[in-house]
């Protein structure tokens, strides 16, 4: 076979296998090594809800896609150049993601009669059945080669098989000219207390690398030059880690201790896990008995003067609804993080979606407007969480931060910012009386914000609660007092628009089509817009981080385009919201509700249809 060295700008690799095959780790290590090498990287873990679904079946297939490039990378890629399938089920579930030119690496050992039948193939020739004969298929006996590689390791057969993924990773490292050192270091650290396992993993990795370089079966190897990224110190970060760290940053800048009340729920749990690690920075986490307790402990902590947060996903957010109204009427700072997943109800718990927007905007009893901010990339979660905290504390109100499974689990290299470049956070704390008795709902006339009187302060004793009150804190059911307080609370949220940044447009400020998006679809929409620009087409992008209130220049931007198309991973929730806010415009829609991110082509096609 002719061996080619391809100098590529961008390559997508998809690792797939059984849930127990360690594909998430393999993909992560490949992404880390590529980032360290200097490539730009974007990742997309795509895994089932079951921890270990029946072995060898399609429902148990776990995947991890990595896009690496010598240029700017904004999405994990639509289709892959290299597909690794550790068993027939993985091939069956993922063949559709392989480009026509793709190389497909299969673990030959698993393609026996039993494995092929378990995957649900009708014939004994999966490649033919899937009509992928024209792809470059590499049959490698990964299982037996790993066994052979580790026959003297002293490990039991089960432990040996667990090193299959390292053998595979070694093969990929050869194909993509990745150095092995960073992965060696990772393995040494991870198995610090089990040196024999560390040695076995390292040997499998090395032998996989050597095997790939020795056989003639690998058709292509790739050179992906380091990307021309901005100078600076970089690290890899996923969205949930960035969210956790952004919250800690807001705590540090405000001087308010961070309290997180939360209940484990996919795909938000790792925020709680990350925060629980950070006792060194004084973070307090309380793993509650349920979602309601998560938000209610946070509300109590906010009353007592902490920067309080609660983290969840859609179903948990539903449970927190009543208490969110309590935080709103008591006018306490609180950040509610919703890492959205596919719904309704339990839906597809590990798959991404943007279907909680309506819930965030409207899902409460009474007149209860709550600020909504959305993160647009894994690393942007840091900034989004920081500003959610800043606005919650400075404006004395709950703020909903919408993230998505796609962002929470996805990762990318991130130029590490310096905290000195972030603004101070100055909550309106009061510790000595300015009037007697203290009026808890006296407002700053400019911002409508009330003061945060911390329990423990002499002379500021006061009561708040879910009952309507007058500005002096007295319970009131006076119709006009109620109406005025409703207005004052809403006006406070609306005036946040005076503090958030103006909306930016990517591309021309005036033109034919404006793509409108929000949240985790940014990378795909941005990539689509770049494609249009390369073709000289007049297509721009307005991607919203601030959902409620909207930036003040939103209407002006919209008025500069002939057509507006709102692209989102739901059935039109943002489009419908814009219809209520800016009724004078017509909104086209591009929607997808499959639990999967957009494919750039879907956006391009939708825009072309109206161009």
């Amino acid at each position: 076979m002719q061996h080619k060295v391809i100098d590529a700008k961008e390559v997508v690799i998809r690792f797939t296998g059984d849930s127990g095959d360690g594909m998430q780790l393999t993909g992560t290590l490949f992404a880390d090594a590529s980032a360290l090498f200097g490539n730009d990287v974007s990742t997309f873990p795509d895994f089932p809800a079951e921890i270990r679904a029946p072995q060898g079946t399609v429902s148990g297939v776990s995947g991890f896609q990595v896009n690496i490039g010598s240029r700017e990378i904004n999405t994990p890629g639509d289709f892959c150049d290299v597909l690794v399938a550790m068993n027939p089920a993985a091939l069956k579930a993922n063949a559709k993601w392989a480009k026509p030119t793709a190389t497909i690496i299969l673990d030959e050992d698993t393609f026996d009669e039993k494995g092929i039948l378990k995957a649900g193939f009708k014939t004994m020739d999966p490649v033919k059945e899937l009509k992928i004969e024209d792809r470059q298929i590499v049959y490698a006996a990964i299982t037996s080669l790993t066994k052979e590689s580790l026959k003297d390791s002293g490990l039991d057969p089960k432990a040996v098989l667990r090193c299959k993924n390292m053998f595979t990773l070694g093969m990929c490292f050869y194909m993509f000219n990745r150095p092995l050192e960073s992965t060696f270091a990772y393995i040494d650290k991870k198995f610090r207390k089990k040196p024999e396992i560390a040695e076995a993993n390292k040997k499998a990795l090395k032998d996989g690398f050597n095997y790939a370089s020795n056989i003639q079966a690998i058709p292509n190897t790739y050179i992906i030059q380091p990307a021309k990224l901005e100078k600076g110190i970089y690290r890899n970060i996923n969205g949930n880690q960035a969210t956790a760290w952004g919250l800690i940053a807001a705590s540090e800048k405000s001087g308010r201790p961070l309290f997180c009340g939360s209940y484990p729920i996919t795909p938000a749990t790792s925020i709680l896990e990350e925060l629980a690690l950070r006792k060194d920075l004084g973070v307090k986490t309380l793993q509650c008995e349920d979602e309601i307790s998560g938000i209610c402990t946070a509300i109590g902590a906010a009353y007592a003067g902490n920067f309080a947060v609660t983290t969840t996903s859609g179903p948990g957010f539903s449970l927190k609804t009543e208490a969110l109204g309590l935080a709103m009427i008591t006018e306490l700072p609180l950040v509610v993080v919703d890492v959205q997943r596919s719904g309704p109800s339990t839906g597809i718990p590990t798959k991404t979606e943007q279907t909680d927007l309506n819930q965030a905007l409207y899902g409460r009893n009474g007149e209860c407007p709550v600020a909504v901010i959305a993160a647009h990339s894994p690393s942007h979660c840091f900034e989004a969480a920081f500003y959610a905290g800043k606005y919650a504390m400075e404006h004395m109100m709950p703020v909903i931060l919408l993230s998505e499974g796609f962002l929470g689990n996805g990762s990318e290299p991130w130029k590490i910012p310096s905290m000195k470049d972030f603004p101070d956070i100055k909550p309106p704390i009061i510790t000595t009386p300015e009037e007697t008795p203290f009026w808890p709902f006296k407002r700053d006339p400019e911002t409508m914000v009330r003061r945060w009187a911390l329990p423990g302060s002499i002379g500021l004793e006061h009561r708040v609660g879910g009952l309507e009150k007058n500005n002096n804190g007295a319970v009131s059911s006076d119709p006009l007092v109620h109406e005025r307080m409703v207005e004052e609370r809403e006006e406070k949220v609306r005036r946040l628009a005076n503090f958030i940044p103006e909306q930016k447009v990517i591309g021309e400020e005036k033109g034919e089509v404006l793509i409108v998006g929000w949240g985790g679809t940014f990378g795909h929409l941005y990539t689509a817009v770049k494609e249009f620009h390369e073709q000289g087409k007049s297509v721009s992008l307005a991607h919203f981080d601030y959902i409620f209130p909207l930036p003040k220049n939103t209407g002006e931007i919209f008025s500069n385009f002939k057509k507006i198309i709102v692209c989102e991973l739901n059935n039109g929730q943002f489009a419908n919201y814009l219809r209520t806010q800016y009724q004078q415009f017509h909104y086209y829609q591009c929607n997808k509700v499959q639990g999967q991110p957009f494919i750039v082509k879907e956006i391009v096609d939708a825009v072309n249809a109206i161009l």
Binding site: N236, W245, I299, A301, E322, K415, G465
Partner: protein
């Protein structure tokens, strides 16, 4: 600074809106009377007090206290007060709740607060009825009770709140009657002194929807015969003439008359609230009239580490060995690389 408080210092300017004759008035008075004693015993000042409540008649309580207060939502008082205490352990947190609030809609939060042994003081107003919604049965309503939602009588067995407290590994449980103002006041001081979750069940009368529900034991004429006030280290003696007591026969409690059948005061059980084994406490909590007197006073008060102590100790311990001291250091932790 030497501060002497009076009950008046703890009365807010809000008009108390409970029904005339409601047992809650008496509890409010007892708590307000206890506050100066608590401040003196523990060297507390008023601004350290936070009263948290859920929803129900009793949950209006924080508005009537001139302290920090938080009137929450139905059932969630335990969660809110947990958050207040963990956020600022310097505060002394008091939770006002009812039999519906704590044991029905808030049952989960209630048992988990107790399990964690967070240093909060829960006062559970038990009137065996939903009052604010105008008369539906509650989780403590007697079996067969006729209410608006049980027109043919309830078919549910009631909870005994003390049993729940023990089941949740509670460290402090006391019981009083609304009409026993001084006893309630004394229990409040004991519960404040206790480190960890304290639960005080107060049997209160709902004059409108469940009048005289506790009358069998709370009537002045018969109260001494039908209740027993337990005191740590003292014999379990009761009765108008203090002539009755409790002894153990086999594994069961028995009421005996002192001076009859050779029983002397020496045979009577001595109350040990500090005994960790909850066996006897459970029997005392479950005593029902007419077979037994109903137990009042501090039934259980055992020492254990509190949640807030454990959190504080863990933070101190981790901070001592910390490699990361700021967000900038955090951002640079782990693998990083430089692009030049």
């Amino acid at each position: 600074m030497e501060l002497k408080y009076t009950p008046q210092d703890f009365k807010s300017n809000q008009e108390v809106k409970w029904c005339p004759g409601c047992g809650d008035h008496a509890v409010l008075a007892s708590v307000q009377r206890a506050m100066p004693d608590i401040c003196e015993a523990l060297n507390y000042t008023r601004e350290r007090f936070v009263f948290v409540s859920g929803i129900g008649c009793s949950s209006r309580f924080p508005y009537y206290m001139n302290t920090y207060g938080f009137h929450g939502i139905h059932g969630r008082a335990s969660a809110i007060s947990t958050g207040v205490k963990v956020a600022n352990p310097y505060l002394t947190v008091w939770q006002i709740t009812g039999d519906g609030d704590a044991l029905a809609i808030g049952g989960n939060h209630f048992i988990h607060a107790i399990r964690r042994n967070i240093d909060i003081n829960i006062i559970l107003f038990n009137n065996q009825i939903y009052g604010l919604t105008k008369g539906q049965y509650s989780p403590t309503s007697k079996l067969g009770m006729v209410t608006k939602t049980s027109p043919y009588g309830t078919v549910e067995h009631p909870f005994n709140p003390g049993e729940l407290v023990l089941g949740a590994r509670g460290t402090f449980f006391a019981r009083s009657l609304d009409v026993e103002l001084k006893l309630t006041q004394d229990i409040m001081v004991e519960s404040a002194k206790h480190d960890g979750t304290s639960v005080t069940e107060i049997l209160v009368n709902c004059v409108i929807f469940n009048d005289k529900t506790h009358a069998t034991i709370s009537d002045k004429e018969t109260r001494a015969e039908r209740t027993i006030i337990l005191k740590h280290g003292e014999p379990m003696i009761f009765g108008k003439n203090r002539d009755k007591g409790l002894i153990l026969v086999g594994r069961k409690l028995k009421v005996v008359k002192i001076g009859e059948g050779g029983i002397t005061e020496k045979d009577i059980l001595i109350h040990d609230a500090e005994e960790e084994n909850p066996g006897l406490h459970s029997m005392l909590i479950n005593m029902k009239y007419p077979e037994f007197p109903v137990a009042l006073g501090v039934i259980r008060s055992v020492k254990d580490k509190t949640y807030d102590d454990n959190v504080r100790d863990q933070v101190i311990d981790v901070k001592e060995h910390a490699q990361i001291h700021s967000v900038d250091e955090l951002l640079h932790s782990g693998s990083t690389w430089e692009i030049k």
